[in-house]
Amino acid sequence: MLEARLQQANVLKKTVDAIKDLVQDCNFDCNDSGIALQAMDNSHVALVSMLLKAETFQPYRCDRNIALGVNLVSLTKVLRAAQPDDVLTMKAEDAPDSLNILFESSENDRITEYDLKLMDIDQEHLGIPDTEYAATISMPSAEFKRICTDLMAMSESVTIEATKDGVKFSCTGDIGNGAVTLRNHQVEEKPKENIEIELTEPVSLTFSLKYLVNFCKAQALSDSVRICLSNEVPLLVEYLVSGQSYLRFYLAPKIGDEE
């Protein structure tokens, strides 16, 4: 039996919005510590890893491990009916055929209830190793989004180069080339706009902007984003939802043409 109550429907709405273009069907794995999701896009270039800790919900109850196989397009249709501030409750039996989703309006007594059919998804889980990254960049999520969408207009891929001087996002396209450079930037009064670059060694990697722009849909979840890079390791883009809950994206770099 699963029962999870989320004070703000928005959290789930935004999360699903951010991953539905990468993944069509996936399992929400529920256990007593929270709800997790891991899925890879069709071409195996990107991986989404989500964890909504039990603390994110009030209350949270899950007696047995349950995998909820959900079609994200369908889930989006249901979640579209929720107002951002609605209280959202998910309920499921131990071996569920469907997921019960309940929205309670925070303003009046309106109650909306959906049963979403579930499916069996045979999904393989990848172990994700902890990694010491060569460069870790924290920045406002809106800023990252802006960089990605701006450069997307020029080219299909972006090179992220982290050196001790800062981090440079550059691209080359048919019409010319462009670059955005950021440096460490910390202001006490406006912590939300801080840019922090931690670097153990310089690193430069190229990624598909199509995917990055996709990841940026998670911007609504968090004010800041953490970008971690190392050579020969997938890129990590992490949005912290609340507390220890997170939405992480991994992306394989592109192999340069010179190889």
Binding site: S43, G127, P129, D130, V233, P234, I255, E259
Partner: protein, 905 residues
């Protein structure tokens, strides 16, 4: 690096892997202490070692070696202890326990004795880790090195089947697509028919022994289809779906993809190139399996309706994603394009199957096999006889029930024997392949061929050949000569058919010609009228074009096949047991004659052509009572297997070959001289046009480096412009193409030879489009591709223009415009009104121009300048002449299909 499995892979690929995967080890070292990786290679070592005795030592040595490795790995993995958490969940054998370690090899030895079962150890799934994988690097080295092209008499499938089973066990046990790819590569690499058959035979044998379940999908894939013609399953994939997938999977943008396309032309070759550029992925791809690929195709074909485009795209993406290496991608893409180009279609496949089942059987089957050693000792002729006997059976089965889904399972069970014909024979509602008629030049030739025999002449109506099945409940199915279902197209016939059964007829299969008629007068209409009927889901009330069925043969009656009965008997049954319905159902007009009745036959032929028939069909009525007839020897049946039989027979002077005599029986799927077509003289309407080549397109596939098709134009005398009249890609030789490419050179250069060369060498269809059977014939053009002209740079932009010359009239967009200067003499089937081509517009129609059907290059007219090319007025004149004749030649379509099939030998 210490796991033997890993080491072996890396060693063999080290050149292609490059730096991309080397550095990943430190990061994901926790992947290593997985036991499942290790036992697999151990198994194949011990599998061989065991036979040399000394079990104890080998086992123990192995155990110690394993133990040592695990200890080492364990130590190596400890630093990443944080990551260990997840991997601990995977079923690793704890390396601390010495006992378990020893058990592993013991267990393996047990297995080596019974290699048919996959090793259970290997099936334990290792938990994968997120890591960067370069897909281009992972290649199935075992499959890639199997010498399928060896002679089937020396090739040992058992050895490879065992190796492969071990390999496959790790991936779920199904035969890998790499195996089939290997076979395709070898087949594609040769132009020798014998080699092609050998290669297929060996590949089939490995599958029969190694993974019989994958045999059926493999046969479908190799014949480039997913269902028999009478079950309509269409992939419905456009080239754009494949382009999209390539872009997605290989990380290409439009520009770079277009560059590769222009260079190679063929989508498969593009995929081969593009795969080299593949980027990293986050996990090791699951190798494609034969079953998996086939199921994906079926899924693609079955997805319909809203959003199906996306579903199909996802399947295509996945296939390309999981294809390992360039070759697999090449053939996956060619399969998706429905154009495999390995020259191994129906006939070849049936031959290969018949031989494979003589030499191999699946585990558990009991049917007798031929011993390879014995066969090796046989003389060539004796061997040919053994082969051909089985080929006959398999071909006969397939002609009666043309569906691998029916044939293969039975073969797996009982092999090739006479029972196969019974278990897999003629059945109601499954079309048999029609018997075909040979073409003769004229009546005289026909009379010579049939000298001394009784024959029937029948009108050859200008309609559509149809096979009508009706069961005892009155349910009818109608099939075309290409076995497509036409039941929906002719609901009027479906309604009619049960009513024509006379007394005592319950079920039947008959053949006839469906002809458009005037319901009131019964007057025949031409073929084009018939083609105006809707094709699908015709409602009976909406029919405006009435048809009449002219029956000419009966193949099945009341549960009994009649194929073995002489034509006279079949015809008698057909005429006596069925009921004529005027202007709806009747029999073809016939005349029984012998070669002495030439006057009567000529008269009959004239009657036929007078009522717009195409000509006449002439059929032998009776089998010869004895086999001593003197006419036999020069009547060689034009199908391949008969030839071998004949040869053998002639040598032995045994009169046992009834086959080469003219048979009065119904021989499905054969084109024999016992049925002859006599048509209105082809050559009487032989006009040619002198046309000017004005533009070209990049060729596809083999012709990628040449211009093909080429756009041709007539001259407009009044305006002096050149008006495009047709594209032509027929009648050119390779050397002509080469010279042409050299003459009209836009400097884009040729792809380096060798890259496409290997794959493209010999296979190519005849340029006429049409039935897939054309692949059965391999062109043996002298391959003079190697010497590429070496003049290099200075020949850029020769005789070509970047933009359309103002004096050329054409709305399309060719890849290159030629500087008009040559005149080519062209033949064609007929002239049609065309919405696209503007030649002679205004002369015969205000909106439409004229174009040519089946244009064919004859020769260059060096003696003519472009001002002497045919004019649009001349073209219009030909068109008027053609229309005035109101020629039944409108049915050229059917005729041509016939001719193409004849090449299949």
């Amino acid at each position: 690096m210490s796991s033997p499995a890993k080491k072996r892979k890396l060693n063999s690929d080290s050149k292609s892997t490059g730096p991309s995967s080397r550095g990943l080890e430190y990061f994901f070292s926790k992947q290593k202490p997985k036991a499942p990786d290790s036992p697999a290679p151990v198994a194949d070592q011990s599998g061989q070692d065991v036979h040399s005795g000394d079990h104890e030592m080998t086992d123990e040595a192995l155990a110690r070696k394993l133990q040592a490795e695990w200890d080492q790995e364990d130590a190596g993995a400890r630093p990443v202890a944080a990551a260990q958490g997840s991997s601990a969940a995977s079923p690793v054998i704890p390396p601390e326990e010495e006992d378990t370690a020893i058990i592993v090899p013991d267990h393996v030895v047990d297995q080596a004795g019974t290699p048919k079962k996959p090793l259970p150890k290997v099936e334990i799934k290792a938990k994968n880790t997120l890591s960067l994988q370069s897909v281009a690097a992972s290649v199935d080295t075992v499959s890639e090195s199997i010498p399928f092209d060896e002679s089937p008499l020396t090739f040992d499938p058992t050895k490879y089947a065992r190796q492969l089973q071990e390999l496959w066990a790790g991936e779920g046990g199904d035969a890998s697509y790499a195996l089939l790819t290997r076979c395709f590569v070898l087949v594609n690499g040769t132009s020798s028919r014998i080699k092609i058959v050998d290669t297929l035979v060996n590949c089939l044998r490995v599958l029969i022994e190694g993974d019989p379940e994958s045999l059926l999908p493999a046969v479908w894939l190799a014949t480039n289809s997913i269902s028999p013609p009478y079950i309509s399953l269409e992939l419905g994939l456009g080239g754009s779906a494949i382009s999209k997938a390539l872009k997605q999977v290989c990380g290409l943008d439009n520009r770079s993809l277009k560059a590769i396309y222009d260079k190679y032309g063929d989508a498969g070759d593009v995929a081969f190139e593009a795969k080299k550029k593949q980027s990293f992925t986050l996990r090791k791809p699951k190798p494609l399996t034969i079953k998996g690929v086939f199921q994906s195709l079926v899924k693609v074909a079955n997805s319909q309706g809203q959003g199906s485009g996306e579903v199909k795209q996802r399947i295509v993406d996945r296939l390309l994603q999981d294809a390992r290496g360039g070759e697999e991608s090449r053939y996956v893409v060619r399969t998706l394009c429905q154009h495999l180009r390995i020259g191994a279609v129906k006939t070849t496949m049936l031959i290969a199957l018949s031989r494979a089942f003589l030499l191999a059987r699946p585990p558990g089957a009991e049917f007798p096999l031929r011993c390879v050693e014995e066969l090796r000792k046989l003389k060539k002729e004796e061997l040919a006889e053994i082969w051909s006997k089985n080929e006959e059976i398999v071909k006969a089965c397939f002609a009666r029930r043309p569906n691998y889904n029916d044939l293969i399972p039975v073969m797996l069970e009982i092999g090739v024997c006479d029972e196969l014909l019974i278990r897999c024979g003629l059945t109601l509602h499954i079309p048999l392949r029609p018997m075909l008629g040979s073409i003769t030049r004229d009546l005289a030739e026909m009379l010579t061929k049939l000298q001394g025999r009784d024959f029937a002449c029948e009108f050859k109506y200008d309609g559509q050949r149809a096979q009508v099945h009706c069961d005892d409940k009155g349910k009818a199915s109608i099939f075309s000569r290409h076995l497509e279902v036409m039941t929906d197209k002719y609901p009027d016939l479906v309604e009619l058919v049960p009513k024509i059964r006379g007394e005592g007829v319950s079920s039947f299969i008959m053949e006839g010609e469906v002809v458009a008629v005037d319901r009131q007068t019964g007057e025949l209409k031409n073929f084009q009228t018939l083609t105006n009927r809707a094709r699908k889901d015709v409602a009976i009330g909406s029919i405006t074009i009435d048809v009449c069925l002219f029956a000419f043969d009966l193949m099945y009656l009341n549960g009994q096949p009649l194929l073995d009965r002489p034509f006279r008997e079949r015809r008698e049954l057909l005429r006596s047991l069925f009921i004529e319905v005027p202007h709806h159902f009747t029999w073809v007009r016939t005349l029984d004659a012998t070669s002495h009745d030439s006057e009567a036959v000529l008269d009959f032929f004239k009657q036929a052509t007078d009522i717009k028939c195409e000509g006449i069909m002439v059929k032998i009525l009776d089998n010869l009572p004895s086999l001593a007839a003197p006419t036999e020897t020069d009547q060689e049946a034009p199908d391949a297997k008969a030839k071998t039989v004949t040869k053998a027979a002639m040598k032995d002077k045994k009169p046992s070959t009834r086959r080469k005599a003219l048979l009065a029986t119904y021989e499905p799927d054969k084109r024999l001289d016992s049925w002859l077509k006599v048509k209105k003289d082809y050559s009487s309407s032989f006009d040619t046009l002198d046309l000017v080549p004005v533009a070209g397109w990049h060729g596809q596939g083999r012709k990628a480096r040449w211009w093909s098709p080429i756009l041709l134009a007539v001259r407009n005398d009044e305006t002096g412009t050149l008006e495009a009249v047709c594209k032509c890609m027929s009648g050119f030789t390779d050397s002509f193409y080469k010279a042409n490419r050299k003459m009209y050179d836009d400097g884009s250069g040729e792809p380096e030879p060798g890259i496409t060369g290997a794959g493209d060498g010999a296979t190519e269809e005849h340029t006429r489009d049409g039935s897939a059977d054309k692949h059965d014939e391999k062109e043996n053009d002298d391959d003079d591709e190697e010497e590429e002209e070496g003049e290099g740079e200075n020949r850029r932009y020769k005789n070509v223009r970047k933009t359309k010359p103002s004096f050329v009239e054409y709305a399309g967009h060719p890849d290159v415009w030629f500087e008009p200067q040559e005149v080519w003499e062209m033949a064609f089937a007929d002239i049609t009104l065309s919405p696209t081509y503007t030649a002679a517009i205004g002369l015969v129609s205000q909106e439409r121009g004229l174009s040519l059907r089946f244009p064919r290059f004859l020769k260059k007219r060096d003696d003519k300048g472009i001002e002497e090319a045919s004019s649009s007025e001349f073209l219009a004149g030909l068109w008027r002449k053609q229309e005035a004749k109101a020629a039944p030649a409108a049915a050229v379509k059917e005729v041509d299909a016939d001719e193409e099939e004849q090449e299949e030998v």
